[in-house]
Amino acid sequence: MNILIVEDHPELAQEIVDYLSKNGYLCKWAKDCETALEELSVNSFDAMLLDLGLPDGSGFDVLKGIRKKQSDIAVVIITARGELDDRINGLQLGADDYLTKPFALTELGARLQAIIRRMHGFAANVLDIHGFKLQLQDYKVSFNENPIALTKKEFDIFRYLALNKNRVITRLQLTEHIWGDILEINSDSNFIDVHVRNLRKKLDKFATLEWFETVRNVGYRINL
């Protein structure tokens, strides 16, 4: 899951990056509007944390910039306490949620997760995929109360495919969202297949996986 953090205070940004990285997100930090817009055009992000007061303009400009491009990125704006107009303005411009400074990192994590899941049409924090329960907040998968031990990468792949249910997700997309922004050109992405194979093997012990499709030469799809 790629997150762009647009925040001009390096210490706060670093704190957020550290926290979110620990929670399985791939983070990029942009310190101003210019860098943010450049990052947004170069990489594909799942969510963005946007501080409104930036050295070279307002976060609103970034928001307008991305919404023009019909991008489906989830946006959480960060505002100072009491700036009601800003919050309303932000939400009207297409932000999905807001946080007032100072905020607890755990709250930030929870909100981010909720937004991402809502964006993909899931109401609860536990995704039910044909009897497999994915607990988004604590990285656990179980089937009929039986816990399944998955590696971090396996969980990430499962989560990403589950969130993007009924869509063919290419190997490249998976690499991009789970391994991050790999500069390597033509990385053959075969290593993805290894992880998916292992994941399927682990899940296969509990139920049939006809809903977990391999799309030949392209990627994978979870049908729900």
Partner: protein
């Protein structure tokens, strides 16, 4: 004069302008002294001789004026039976001598000669006026002499005086010169140290004028500022260009990517169409990454990255190995990571990460299935180094020459667009890291990174 010799023989050890000027000034003064040393005695002699000649002539005039036969006889006969009369002063510094010349001897009427004479057993050098005259059919020679000893002493004193005086003058002026030249050149060194040496990019350039009493340096400073402003413009344009490229190229690429990805969701597509779309997506991804890579190189070369973080190299490697675990497994590669030196240096974390990532990924990519990779580090000549060796396909000498060039692939059947090592090279340059590559075809390649020593 040793510095000048070294200047002539060792062109690598050049002197500073202040020293050159001081030495040049001192040398010219020395030359003047040497010339004076030789010319002055002659001049003094000339002047002194003229003066002596004059006084000798005056004495002769006085003597001749009152001269009559009786007196001559008095002088010559009255003295003793010889034909010579001589008188000399008490300290022998002058004498007068009158003698009768033989009839047949022909002499020049007036002549000046320098001759040693013995007076009362004492030899002295004299300047002598010889005056031959005829008086009542007899030829006489009048000689009036003036001692040259004093003159010689005087010349010696003058010479010694000159030497001491000029010696003092040379030393004094040399010191004054050195200080004055240094004072004059101060703005010059200030320009070099504060402006040029530390100016890595025009943004951090100090445009405040350097105070100077010299028009030349003021001009140099102004011209430098103007030049830097122009370079700054170019830099700004290039940054703008890079931003434009990334924006203008990436936006349509992501648009296409989204469209193709959405197209893939269409259930009615046949396998052939799906394959084609997937291939297009791969091409698009390659295009995106090439642009990203080129942008990265441009940005590094444009100093758009700051090297101001403390980076622990061994930690970066440890993280990378965890990230790349699956890649090692995929090719069944055994990894020996012996990097454990506690070394931190000021750099850009992201870039160092990319540098090491590219090297390790290369070691995987160009390795045989079941091969091995060894990473070790240490301190060599007070510099930290890290070595990444693989048991891969290696390179021949010709390939080695071109590995850091953009778009030069080691082998054509391997994937990758040959930008990975170009990036490695650019990042290493940016951080003053030296890369040494040794490779043997079919045996493996070793990349050795020599880090700059951290003095801070």
């Amino acid at each position: 004069m040793k510095p000048l010799e070294t200047l002539a023989t060792e062109s690598t050890c050049k002197m500073k302008i202040k020293h050159q000027l001081s030495i040049f000034n001192a040398l010219t003064r020395l030359l003047i002294i040497v010339v004076l040393w030789f010319v002055l005695p002659m001049l003094i002699q000339n002047v002194v001789y003229k003066h002596i000649n004059k006084s000798l002539l005056e004495k002769k005039q006085k003597f001749i004026q009152h001269l009559d036969k009786e007196e001559i006889n008095d002088y010559i006969v009255g003295n003793d039976s010889s034909d010579t009369y001589a008188s000399y002063s008490m300290l022998h510094n002058s004498f007068l001598q009158l003698s009768r010349l033989p009839e047949n001897q022909v002499m020049k009427k007036t002549a000046f000669v320098n001759e040693p004479r013995i007076i009362e057993d004492e030899t002295n050098e004299y300047r002598i006026l010889q005056y031959a005259f005829v008086y009542e059919d007899s030829k006489y020679l009048l000689e009036i002499g003036s001692s040259l000893n004093e003159i010689k002493d005087l010349t010696f004193i003058i010479k010694a005086f000159i030497i001491i005086l000029f010696g003092v003058v040379i030393i004094l002026t040399f010191i004054v010169d050195t200080f004055y030249i240094e004072y004059l050149l101060k703005p010059f060194y200030k320009i070099i140290n504060t402006k040029i040496r530390n100016a890595n990019d025009p943004d951090s350039f100090d445009y405040t004028p350097v105070a100077s009493h010299t028009a030349d340096f003021e001009e140099l400073d102004t011209v430098l500022n103007q030049m830097m402003k122009r370079i700054g413009e170019v830099f700004k344009n290039e940054k703008q260009f890079i931003a434009n490229v990334s924006h203008e190229l990436m936006t349509p690429i992501s648009l296409l990517k989204n469209r193709l990805e959405n197209l893939l969701q269409n259930e009615s597509l046949d396998d052939n169409a799906v394959d084609k779309i997937a291939a297009s997506l791969r091409t698009l991804d390659m295009l995106k990454k090439i642009i990203n890579n080129l942008l990265l190189i441009s940005k590094i070369e444009n100093n758009q990255y700051a090297a101001n973080e403390k980076v622990a190299v061994a930690d970066v490697i440890r993280d990378l190995i965890i990230d790349l675990e699956d890649r090692f497994e995929e090719k069944n590669i055994t990894l020996f990571n012996k990097a454990s030196t506690d070394f931190e240096f000021t750099a850009n974390q992201t870039l160092i990460h990319i540098l090491l990532y590219n090297l390790i990924v290369n070691a995987i990519k160009y390795n045989h299935i079941g091969g091995s990779i060894a990473i070790l580090d240490g301190i060599e000549d007070r510099n930290y180094f890290i070595e990444i060796s693989d048991s891969g396909i290696g390179m021949n000498e010709n390939q080695l020459l071109h590995i850091f060039e953009r778009f030069s692939r080691i082998s054509t059947d391997q994937d990758g667009q040959g930008l990975g090592l170009a990036i490695v090279h650019t990042i290493a340059n940016f951080h003053n890291i030296i890369i040494l590559v040794t490779s043997k075809a079919e045996t493996g390649t070793t990349f050795k990174l020599l880090f700059p020593s951290e003095l801070k």
